[in-house]
Subunit: 275 residues, 4 copies
Amino acid sequence: MSTIVFDTYGKTRVRLTYVRRLGSRHEVQELTVDVFMEGEFKEAFTKADNSIVLPTDTMKNTVYALARKNGVNSIEEFARDLARHFLAGVSHLNKVLLEIKEVPWNRIGDSAAAFVQGGLERRTTSFTATRSSEVFRSGIQDLQILKTTDSAFTGFFKDQYTTLAETTDRLLGTVMQSDWLYTSTDVDFNKTHAGIRSLLLTTFAAHKSLSVQQTLYDMAEAVLKQFSNIAEIHLVMPNKHCLLVDLSKFGMDNPNQIFYPIDEPSGYIEAKVAR
Amino acid sequence: MSTIVFDTYGKTRVRLTYVRRLGSRHEVQELTVDVFMEGEFKEAFTKADNSIVLPTDTMKNTVYALARKNGVNSIEEFARDLARHFLAGVSHLNKVLLEIKEVPWNRIGDSAAAFVQGGLERRTTSFTATRSSEVFRSGIQDLQILKTTDSAFTGFFKDQYTTLAETTDRLLGTVMQSDWLYTSTDVDFNKTHAGIRSLLLTTFAAHKSLSVQQTLYDMAEAVLKQFSNIAEIHLVMPNKHCLLVDLSKFGMDNPNQIFYPIDEPSGYIEAKVAR
Amino acid sequence: MSTIVFDTYGKTRVRLTYVRRLGSRHEVQELTVDVFMEGEFKEAFTKADNSIVLPTDTMKNTVYALARKNGVNSIEEFARDLARHFLAGVSHLNKVLLEIKEVPWNRIGDSAAAFVQGGLERRTTSFTATRSSEVFRSGIQDLQILKTTDSAFTGFFKDQYTTLAETTDRLLGTVMQSDWLYTSTDVDFNKTHAGIRSLLLTTFAAHKSLSVQQTLYDMAEAVLKQFSNIAEIHLVMPNKHCLLVDLSKFGMDNPNQIFYPIDEPSGYIEAKVAR
Amino acid sequence: MSTIVFDTYGKTRVRLTYVRRLGSRHEVQELTVDVFMEGEFKEAFTKADNSIVLPTDTMKNTVYALARKNGVNSIEEFARDLARHFLAGVSHLNKVLLEIKEVPWNRIGDSAAAFVQGGLERRTTSFTATRSSEVFRSGIQDLQILKTTDSAFTGFFKDQYTTLAETTDRLLGTVMQSDWLYTSTDVDFNKTHAGIRSLLLTTFAAHKSLSVQQTLYDMAEAVLKQFSNIAEIHLVMPNKHCLLVDLSKFGMDNPNQIFYPIDEPSGYIEAKVAR
């Protein structure tokens, strides 16, 4: 006899462009929303009991209806609105997870209502609500950063397959993934996101790196020191290699000038740092 | 003071094409290997102690060296070879995770050494080894399947935002993600993978679906019934919608003939089913 | 004063899934349709004269309506239906281009109505119609093929930056792009597509390659010899490199067994061959 | 007997990261270079004569060697350096095409040597050189822009399949592709690129759009008026639809506030405008 040991269902990639009209001046937010529900849904699987299944199409409709009803101030507050709505309306729902990503759109100059997209970086939140708890993990995805100085890697462990040369001056590039756990749900989310983003960037820029591990830890510590409403920060910083081209076969030197970036393989460095 | 509560590091997307030469007849396997290490690595983060850091470049080298030394029979056995090698060589390593994906290459007709790629589907394994345990989770990623009959969705839960029409005849398409837990490490992995794949396909094809949930469960049960060395199977089956086009505005009917597929949003259905 | 020297407009990426119901046995076709129109449309640009602009939304509707009205036998015939419809309905339209791609779906075993997607390869047609001419270019996109024997590259031109070693035994992989010009519009398109695809594959498999250029030409010649209704065939065969790993630093040989594939850079080889 | 009516070959996706060190202050450029050669290469195809084939691997080496030798000031000058080198070294080469794309990297604050990637937009050049001519087409790829006011589409042509509603207030979003033909090869390319980019953005922002066609033309005219060294500008502006959500079924209005963006299908608008 088979048993369901975990189940969830929901709707993913619900896209919303929200335009806020402040007189002739507009603001725009582009979101992608995922909804995941857990609760007393097992008999939908085992007995095809659809009477307990809120259609995922309804979840999509709800995203649009609540955006109209409540507006979208921050992705965190919008996630909370949606989660509370679902918990209120579906009595056999125990836990709901909202994951929202925001695409950056930047104003073109000082125009009132025209925008240029800001790239691959995404502001994110992952909000988990049950009947008795609400937890926000917010973050930044795919922040692509590079430093061309102050990066070394020496003195490492070696075995019979180690061929890597030690270096005191390399390029250090990464596509940073980050999320942090709020200790409170009463936060100025927009301001905190902007502050953490800025601090991560400036810490990365200023750091004298002896390894990606050390740089990651330094960035995490800087955030924990400055933002008291963050309990924990999680960073993933793949080492996106940019390799020095060997020009010696053409009788040329290469004083850290000519590199070729590769997409794969990558080093992978991950840590969660808590207060 | 900050504390590291979790850390890992490794190498991702190490690509290997392995050619087995059986006289003039060749076989080819294309793999992507990820290595993740956990152990006594914290001081690499907090004190920049690189003497405990095996370079990720060495992990890449090891993939190639062990492929040459031991060959690649199945991705599971290759993962085990790599894991054991790392545990033997790095005494402060507590746990190593190998994730390997295999790209399908199919022989062109009966040619001895020419192949055509089989598409987006990937055979996968995720092998976790510690000093005292070895666990295989193998699976199939991105198996894109569609049935054009025997799919209904009626009698569902409704709230104020429910507008979905009930249907007794819709298209049911998904991009299946699956993995299963082996109860043993002494398995004919190649044969079992092929058998589970075939059973998932034929069960999907034959099923009279009242919901994606029910279809997913039926597929999981079929595997658990037939394969006694599987303790648990995990399936994710997003509902990749294929919507009926409304032709009534042109005075035409549409007897389930003309649809438009959309990539987003998708329904999302996930369960782990155990024996 | 500015002048428009070229203009076109249309609709791209109109997706259609067409289900043919032959009793309980179904067939399925998944198409992506692009429509491009040229004609007397300049004043839409220069004077914002929308009265000459058939909305691109209407082009999308037309794809669905004509699929219902006429069915979809081959992508070529469907392209012709659409083109003739637009030329008949829009008197200031001089030329219309239909580009259609078909996603391969293969039946699961002998099931009546269940399918598994066949991968990245696409069957294509590009149909150009004016008031006085109709031209079909059909083809195959993204056919990923690999041979592990009978591929050499020696005796090449060298300059001061040439470091490539000569080789008499390498892997030869490509992602073939192909299209051919029909001499007639009265063709069994489905059968011809299948025949050319098969011939390209078997010629590639059997060829003793001295260069990608030679292999490409051999494949083109084979098609022109066997298919008399083809005036010209166009092949693009990037050399998707699969590089031999140097294991000598570990004291190992590598008898053409351990390779690593790279996505970039690629060699690029292209030719049009005519009768 | 078969004849080659067109052939080319080369190397694509050669990636280069170039670091310019001005004391402790660094600048960084990330390029992707494609090289395509045309000339007396037919016998490489028809007779496997490799003695006329400069290996594509050599083209890759040359990119790196010339970057070291000459530096990279603009992508246009680097393209010219490469083209002239190949024409000088390969006497049977008649025409060489260099296509270079530049990834935007922006300085992090006022840091000396740290950068954040600027997104999907690419600066491009396509440089064609023969023994007697040199032509630059430079441009911008994938500039994603959106305006939330001053966009209408009314009074359009209608047929039996037209269902689109007229609108005087819609969102207008596009992923602009642009390239322009320089009348001279003696240009401050970096400054001109920045100037055209800025002018395209501000013209788009300020335009009162009656159709995408009109907006495109207005943008093209603005460039031709202000930049006398541009003979022709080519713009492709797909209409990336952002659709108003119908909330009436929930008893709500939607005063142009709640939209959902779709990736497909798209309108497609293209024109070349010349002086």
